[in-house]
């Protein structure tokens, strides 16, 4: 069975929960067992927000340090904060203007892209699109987009914006 552990981090208000659940629902659509752990409460007011996502046969909702396959960081500062979760060969996709002086880090200037799209709330999906385009996920961008379509079917305008953000991120490769 596929087994993947991911860390998604950023600050409150960036929509970390939304993309964590989107990935988890994509896992379910692929009939994979999934466990996540979310941050709620005071940290959601602009503090550090982190989600753990485990796809496969796990019983604990938390990723141990040194065990994550990948890290998605919606703020550049979160790379340093959370890279101790990664396996030695783990990958990172980070929202940052400057490239990182470190192997295995793919960056994307999602803030600028989001403003260009006229959708400052879409940073999360842009970075996710970029990460998915690396082909190292338990799912593909299209599989995820299908779940997005189902989730947002009654909000066509929001869906369109979301799909555009995902595509913009993937296209920035």
């Amino acid at each position: 069975m596929i087994s993947q552990q991911l860390i998604i981090s950023g600050v409150g208000g960036q929509g970390i929960l939304f993309i964590t659940r989107l990935l988890a629902e994509t896992a379910i659509a692929k009939e994979l067992p999934v466990l996540t752990s979310e941050t709620h409460g005071m940290a959601q007011r602009g503090g550090i927000v982190i989600s753990h996502l485990k796809v496969g046969a796990f019983s604990s909702p938390l990723v141990r340090p040194g065990q994550a396959d990948g890290l998605i960081a919606l703020k550049p500062g979160n790379v340093k904060l959370h890279n101790s979760f990664l396996k030695p060969d783990g990958w990172i996709t980070a929202n940052a203007v400057e490239p990182f002086p470190r192997a295995g880090v793919v960056t994307i200037d999602a803030d600028t892209l989001a403003l260009q799209l006229g959708n400052p709330q879409a940073v999360n999906l842009i970075v996710l699109g970029r990460a998915l385009s690396m082909g190292r996920f338990f799912c593909t961008k299209d599989e995820l987009a299908n779940v997005l379509r189902r989730k947002l079917h009654d909000k066509p305008a929001v869906l369109e914006g979301a799909l555009a953000a995902l595509a913009a991120g993937a296209g920035a490769a």
Binding site: E38, H40, G46, G47, S60, P65, L81
Partner: protein, 603 residues
Amino acid sequence: MPEQQPILMQGNEAMARGLVENGCVVAASYPGTPASEILSAIDAWRKAEGANMHVEWAVNEKVAFEIAYAASQSGLRAATAMKQVGLNVASDPLMSAAYLGTVGGFVVISADDPGPHSSQTEQDSRLVAMQAKIPVLDPSSPAEAREMAGLAFQLSEEFGVPVMLRPTTRVCHACQDILLRPVQDLQRTADFRKDPKRWAATPKFRYELHVKLNQTLSRIAAYGPTAPRCLNHAPGTRRAVVASGVSAAHAQEVASASGLWDSFAFYQVVQPYPLHSAFVEEIRTAYDEVLVLEETAGVIEMQLRDYRRVQGKLSGFVPEAGELLPETIERLLARFAGRPLPELPEAAPEAGKRPTLCPGCPHRASFYAIKKAAPKGIYPSDIGCYTLGVNLGGVDTVLCMGAAIGQAAGFYQAYRVTGQPRDIVATIGDSTFFHAGIPPLIDAVVQGARFVLVILDNSTTAMTGNQPTPSQGTPAGQAVDIASIVAGCGVKFCRSADPLDLPAFTAQIKEALAFSRDQGVAVVIAKSPCLVDKSVRHAKRPQAVVDAACTGCRYCTSQFECPALVYDEASGKVVVDVMICSGCGVCLDVCPVKAIRQEGGKP
């Protein structure tokens, strides 16, 4: 027909589902992290399933408990949900209800927060269950939490006692794939049987009820469905690991991953109190060494009694404070098995960004005005988003729900007795005021205390996810107005003002201070909606722009601390983060040289 697909459920939604599937009819709660999503989920399942229920956000946990308990006394299944410190508020009816017992199944969900992540304390609700003498179930995952909601009803009805379901943050806020089961309609009608000897028992009869409760507890300690579960077959070992809650989930995964699965017998305790008597005996006779993993106190450990052979929190083997993370459990298991300890992971640097009020949050303006008006004041505050006013120097104390008002009165009396008048400006949120602020306000008026109380009224319970407050009313009831309550408490000065109009609001606070210095309690209601409250339409306002006149003094970033104002090292000036600026316009009045403007100007 395709097979039904599981759906992603958060632990809180899963518990809610379990309650609704098992015929819960009345549910009441007060929000608090990590328990806040339970009641909204119950209501969502109610709607989705067309179930006939009463679901309410009560004014506080004690009231929520009493509403649900009366339904149980009437023979219906009922539940109440809260966070652990909310259980403190509801502990009075809980202790008594344990003696009186239940008719319809009655589940008390109390969510603990080891860490703590979003709480004042790390207290263990299982200790409260012990004190109340009611059984408590400790789920290890969302799926198990759903199961246990049903099990709790069953246990409650079999023995006629309230049953506590105690999840922790890592269960409440974990999500998992879970299959829906059909919702049962138990077809019961409310049927309260009068029995004053029981329901209004006098102390003499309470003694008899206590004796009976003790007997019931010893029977519950032999109840099959909640007995500890042995998760592996490790014949021949004289070592056992006993774990409950999410610690059991961590331990199971870590033990398999590190090849320790067969090194000891592995038990998951489902009902930490009362611990099953046969299990206590089995552990005593079959094992020489026992490790207990549980959060946050040594509840199972203390019931195993034999301290020489049992390692846990009380023995000092397991840390007594903080969350038991899987990496900690990994090291504990290795040490217990006599294996070399795994490398300690490189400690992550201290969390970079501290939480702060949202850009444009009206509370920030309120705190700024309070500091301006009473620079030497004492600022007691309370529980909510506005606790973050501590970053702004606008919050000196945070004790518990409602304490801002009691403490303000206390500070006044302390300084009065020793003859040093001080300005005191207390802040409390609207929801917190309803929850626990009214009795201390009455007390302050009666005792002649003098201070300013600012009620931060953003018409919502923001911190926990924008639950409604009594000032909105409900479809079946009516709204309760804060100003009328204040007047009803006997306060003679009560004004309402919008903190986003900073100059006028500051003037209002100054007027209130003048009143409070020689007359009594003065109340200012700071009225402005929460920015993340989706039920309110927010006018789109032009974002702020910092022009060349900015001197780089950083007054706005240090004294006002709007996260959308960022000092730019390169230019030596402050810039506006257009990703997050809400256009509230308050910073225009904060900048000492008026270097901030708004495109289109401010009226």
